[in-house]
């Protein structure tokens, strides 16, 4: 199921070259709204433990949209899933699917509009 979703998302992106990353985050087909709410909460609260409630940094780096400008969403999703060895950034793969990590990457790049 997860793989199908990822595939679908990848295909969609591939079909529309130059589709801005931001457009993907609204991809309701990938992440149900209830889960998206949970992910938003998780970013603010759990990522916020280190990165700050407002993503302005703490023990972890600042990760506001300005700080992340020009970062590739796929790369960010990879960082979220696998962490950064040798630092305090843990791998979130046990708690997130790849789609969810990508959703979070997009959410961070866009900023909190909700």
């Amino acid at each position: 199921m997860t793989e199908t979703r990822t595939l679908l998302a990848v295909c969609l992106v591939a079909l529309v070259p130059g589709w801005p990353a931001a457009a993907m985050s609204g991809d309701a087909t990938a992440i149900p709204e209830a889960r998206a709410d949970e992910l938003r909460h998780m970013v603010r609260q759990d990522c916020g433990s280190c990165h700050g409630l407002r993503m302005t940094g703490g023990l972890g780096a600042a990760i506001t949209p300005e700080d992340l400008a020009d970062r590739d969403p796929q790369d960010l999703a990879g960082l979220i899933l696998d962490g950064i060895p040798g630092t305090a950034m843990p791998p979130w793969r046990p708690l997130l699917t790849e789609d969810e990590a990508l959703w979070i990457a997009d959410y961070l790049l866009e900023g909190d509009e909700k």
Binding site: G52, L59, P90
Partner: protein, 387 residues
Amino acid sequence: MTLRALAAAALAVLMLTGPAMADDLRGTGDLGLIVEREAGSLLVVDRSERAAIGRIEGLGDLSHASLVYSPDERFAFVFGRDGGLSKVDLLTQSVVNRVIQGGNSIGGAISDDGRLVAVSNYEPGGVKVFDADTLALVADIPMGSKTVGIADVPGSRFVVATWDTGEVWLLDHSADPANPEITRLEGIGANPYDALLTGDGRTYIVGLFGEKGLTAVDLWQDPPQATRFLPDYGRDQPDMPVYKMPHLQGWTLADGVYALPAVGLHQLLWVDAATLAETGRTELAGQPVFALARPDKREVWVNFAPPDNDKVQIIDVMTRKVTRTLTPGKGVLHMEFAPRGREVWLSVRDENRVEIRDARSHEVLAEIEARAPSGIFFTDRAHRMGL
């Protein structure tokens, strides 16, 4: 008749005003503050009434906020993530002063004489020290690193550890508050993530994230002596992800032993306080965050990092076994015991409430509504070293 009526009226006035004046006076010894992290506010609570009695707003970004109390237990100094240092009055329930002193702060401490408030900053990395009355800057000590685990040491001193450079700095403000005498200990270990001062003010224990083990600094020695301990704990086991750093404030000294939250292991580590040797481990339900001794030291209460942060486990100090697993609700961020250990207050962030439990029967006694509550701070901290 008229005289009688007058007398009665006078009596009535006396009866009305007398008690009203008595009500206007109050102590602060059973008060506390609860951080509402998202709202940037503090809930003022009364332990005796088990109720919120007010709210202080306008404190900025309170993620990871902490606070310390003035010696008279009337004022609190609040350290916000946005670098804000705020002085609040529990009696008038208002912000009496506020300065933005840094870009990103992590905590603070108050000197033993109550005159100096030190703020530990991530950005710019170092410590700034302020006058407790006016919040005017007294000393600025850049350290070239994020700083963690600041605590007050007897004699107008502060101690702090540095995340990036693995050092401990002792700042002695007793001779000249503006120019502290600095003692710098290098080679404490890789990435200190937090530290604590024991209740007697003698030993500063530093937790390490970048390598296994911890470091104890004996502040009675001159110069202070650093000793590594538990250098190998968990080396034979793969580390589990740490989704929230343990906090060491409130690390337990119970019955001659430290009960320490392991990093990357779902365990509580028992260490002989005299020899710093490991004496046992207790398996836990998740990555421990706080390991707090009930004030009588008979039990240790532990909360957890995500995804196990709905639970609290209670460990019997004599048997070192988990005697009970409570599930107060989603996001149990902090616990604070009443000074004599009768009750414990738990913040349940995701359910917007604080739960008050009997610390012996563990029954829920009351609940208080709060907006995404995190830290709970009772005023008795004013009289405890390291808090």
